[in-house]
Amino acid sequence: MGRRLKSVWVYHVDAGSCNGCDIEVLDVLSPYYDLERLGVKVVPNPRHADALFITGPLTRQTRIALKKAYEAMPPKPRIVVAVGTCASSGGIFYNSYALYNTSPQRGRDRLRSGGPEMIVPIDMYIPGCPPSPEEILYGVAQLLSIKEKKMKGEYWIALPPKETPSKENEVEFRIPDRPIPLRYWLTLREELRRVIGYYDREAVLNDFMALVEKAFEDENPREKLHDLVTGYFLKEKDSRVKVAMRFLENEFWRLYDEYHSLGEALRKKYPVTAGV
């Protein structure tokens, strides 16, 4: 953009969005974010506007209105900002019959074409569902050359096991090295989703696995683990985490017993195929 723009008047068009982005665009004007201090003002009329904020996946019914609004803007500078995932690519609705999408694979290509870019050129994509005010502020700041672009595309080549990378984008395979077999971690992780949810489970499980490793250094791991978990509660006061830890303890020993009698059980169940 070169020179920093000091005054940008913005017209906001809804191209069939779910409202989330519209509300966030309004939210950026509210006291905590105050877009106006950057010289950005929302105007009610495309004739007065230098920039267009588009939200929504471009439904067929709105595309004429959008086109009209775009053409009503003064020919310079005509900045177009796509706010939200829908406006960046059609979002979750991308290949519905009610959307206007003329891209060759109807939105399944590499760039996930879709949304307003079908009819107007877009200068700034602000993805997010909906983008939070900070994200919109960042997009606008980038437009005004206050902030730098931070994202860049990546192309990784995932190397098969035991190969070492020779090029920069080649990555070798790493299975986390744990003394406790990976399958415990996997099973417990899945079950923990039910107890404490997917977000907190990683931290809780990592803490628990650390305790298990410690417990197995002892002669009597069962009692040791129980003590360790109880000791852990002195530090961690949260009632839900406590529940989850106790649950993990029980579940771990159940799995432990199950796996240890596994060979036996399997041989009983499939006597013929075993070892074939």
């Binding site: 779910c18 509300i23 439904t59 067929r60 209105a65 979750i92 109807r106 939070s132 039910r194 107890v195």
Partner: protein
């Protein structure tokens, strides 16, 4: 007309998932005597009832002949004892792959006694129509509440409501060709044919000037096209062409989404009340799978619903202030609202579109420190809102604009099945949270709160109802935190039963949200019908606008808190069944290239 009587020689009674467990073919008498009014209805329409069953707890279905449809709907809607009963909406389904017939099914929220959660229930009136003649006598001719839904099924499914007063196109784009019905099972969800633009506006009445509002208009945050017919600056009549946000949501699910993915699509029906849609959908699926979700999950859901209501009411006050040019009010309302958004961001990970739900429970837990955060924010909001309201409601110019404007009388509200705060401001005593709180996906039956009702019916009353509700919501949140039980936060749900139906509902901050789900094969959804509250509220807006000033139009329209995106979703998720005509990718590209030239 071929009646369903010929097609269905016998009728049977079936019950599913009652309290005693599964019992198919339960006693008719038992079912009909479970709730007040069922028997009475059965006696009155004995001749025409083909089948009756209990779909799930508190949801009853009668299969009736299509010619008595208007009478049956009106029988319930105008029931002399059940005053607040209203026609919720209707569902049209293409059941040809199943049984060669189309289905039109209005359903009603029967209020035996307002706010008595064990007495009220839902009644579904299902009418079959033969594939070659999908027509039924119009209910809308007698009941304005059915105006839109009948236009909708005409648009999307090609049904013919005989005698409909205003059979214009409602939903599909203006350049959509005649005779292509997206919701029929033989259309691919990506098929988007183009045709000539054809607008069907009402003619401007004599002696009036036309003032178009929208589709892009600063006074309405979303695209919608109101055509006001004015004399001087007084509004004489109104025409509405909306559905600019029609995104084909229902069809989008077809073939692409599984029942858990649909949940995230449901959330994106609306960015404001998304969680309500999400919970409604989840509830419908849980009901038909006959799963009771853990108590803790119910509490967390309720908590999130109430937090959503809090920030949405504040949002609405801000918008209303903005629309009357009172920008300071807007700014302060949104400043007060912001901590709730931050709170929600920390609870769920996002400010809107919480992504908190999964069929069978919730995805994140409320840990202790999160509870503390919630209580802190609730306290802060209560204080600041009180202060804010003191100032805003004492701003003379603000009150001047809101008082006595956009009056909606009780009778009109009832006839249009107006919902939510808009209805409560007109004296309707309805609130799904209390009316049907038993065995839902929420915990409203275990908390205590009041439902504010005002009788004035003007914009100011709508403001006051919302503000009263806001304080009630804060109180609910505190109770929920206090009573939050332990236990799991979700139960895994295995395979869904095939071709079962159920209804999920919540009370959004705009009114009751209803999701009807019918499952198909392979854990997919065969029919998903969404009815957002604005769908019922918006047709009543012309009634509110008539006789007022053009300058009041944006405020009056906003006073129902319209959400066009909710209303204009396109319903459903259907499964591809054997006979579906599937376009290949190549055919598809051809089509899109062919039609690219049109615009």
């Amino acid at each position: 007309m071929v009646t369903t009587r010929d097609l269905e020689a016998h009728f049977e009674f079936e019950c599913r998932a009652c309290e005693n467990g599964h019992c198919r073919k339960a006693d008719v008498e038992t079912i009909l005597s479970e709730r007040k009014g069922l028997k009475e209805f059965y006696e009155a329409f004995k001749e025409h009832i083909r089948e009756c069953k209990r779909m799930t707890y508190g949801q009853y279905m009668f299969v009736i002949d299509r010619e008595v449809l208007p009478d049956a709907v009106l029988w319930w809607h105008n029931h002399p004892e059940f005053k607040e009963t209203h026609m919720s909406t209707a569902v049209g389904t293409d059941e040809r792959p199943l049984n060669g017939k189309f289905v039109y099914m209005p359903f009603l929220n029967v209020q035996v006694e307002p706010q008595n959660m064990d007495e009220n229930y839902w009644v579904f009136l299902k009418a079959y129509m033969p594939a070659d003649d999908p027509s039924f006598p119009s209910v809308a001719a007698k009941l304005p509440a059915a105006l839109w839904i009948e236009r909708e099924v005409k648009d999307l499914l090609g049904f013919n409501p005989v005698g409909h007063p205003d059979p214009r196109r409602l939903i599909l784009p203006e350049d959509w060709p005649e005779g292509v019905y997206p919701l029929r099972k033989d259309m691919d969800y990506r098929h988007s044919p183009m045709a000539e633009v054809k607008t069907e506006y009402r003619e401007t009445p004599e002696g009036t000037t036309l003032v178009p509002m929208g589709p892009v208009h600063a006074g309405i945050e979303e695209p919608a096209h109101f055509r006001l017919f004015v004399k001087g600056e007084e509004i004489v009549d109104v025409d509405y062409r909306g559905f600019y946000s029609h995104r084909g949501i229902e069809k989008t699910g077809e073939g692409r989404l599984t029942y858990n993915q649909v949940l995230f699509l449901a959330e994106r029906i609306c960015g404001i009340c998304g969680y309500q849609h999400s919970v409604s959908y989840a509830m419908a699926v849980e009901r038909l799978a006959d799963v009771d979700i853990p108590d803790r999950a119910r509490y967390i859901r309720t908590l999130m619903l109430e937090l959503e209501r809090i920030h949405n009411h504040l949002l609405w006050v801000g918008i209303a202030a903005h629309l009357v040019g009172y920008d300071t009010g807007f700014m302060h309302a949104w400043r007060i609202r912001e901590p709730v958004m931050w709170l929600v961001e920390r609870l769920t990970g996002n400010r809107k579109q919480y992504g908190m739900n999964i069929v069978g429970g919730v995805r994140r837990d409320i840990l202790d420190y999160r509870k503390e955060e919630i209580l802190k924010v609730v306290k802060q909001i209560r204080e600041e809102t009180k202060k804010f309201l003191d100032i805003a409601l004492n701003t003379n110019t603000f009150i001047k604009r809101a008082e006595g404007v956009g009056i909606l009388p009780y009778k009109v509200a009832k006839a249009y099945s107006v919902l939510g705060p808009t209805a409560r401001a007109s004296g309707r005593r309805i609130d799904t949270r209390l009316d049907q709180a038993t065995k839902t996906a929420m915990a409203y039956n275990e908390v205590d709160f009041k439902v504010p009702v005002y009788k004035e019916g003007d914009v100011l009353a709508r403001v006051l109802v919302r503000m009263d509700e806001l304080f009630e919501s804060l109180w609910i949140v505190e109770q929920l935190i206090d009573q939050m039980p332990g236990g799991d936060i979700m139960v895994p749900i295995g395979d869904l039963p095939e071709y079962e139906e159920a209804l999920g509902f919540t009370e959004a901050h705009r009114g009751e949200v209803v999701h009807y789900v019918m499952t198909g094969e392979k854990n997919k959804v065969y029919r998903w019908k969404v009815r957002a509250p604005t769908y019922n509220n918006l047709p009543a807006v012309p009634e509110m606008l008539k006789g007022y000033h053009v300058a009041d139009a944006p405020l009056i329209i906003a006073s129902i808190d319209p959400c066009y995106s909710c209303t204009e979703r396109v319903q459903f998720v259907d499964v591809e069944t054997g006979k579906v005509k599937v376009l290949t990718e190549a055919e598809f590209n051809e089509l899109s290239i062919k039609y690219r030239g049109v615009f």
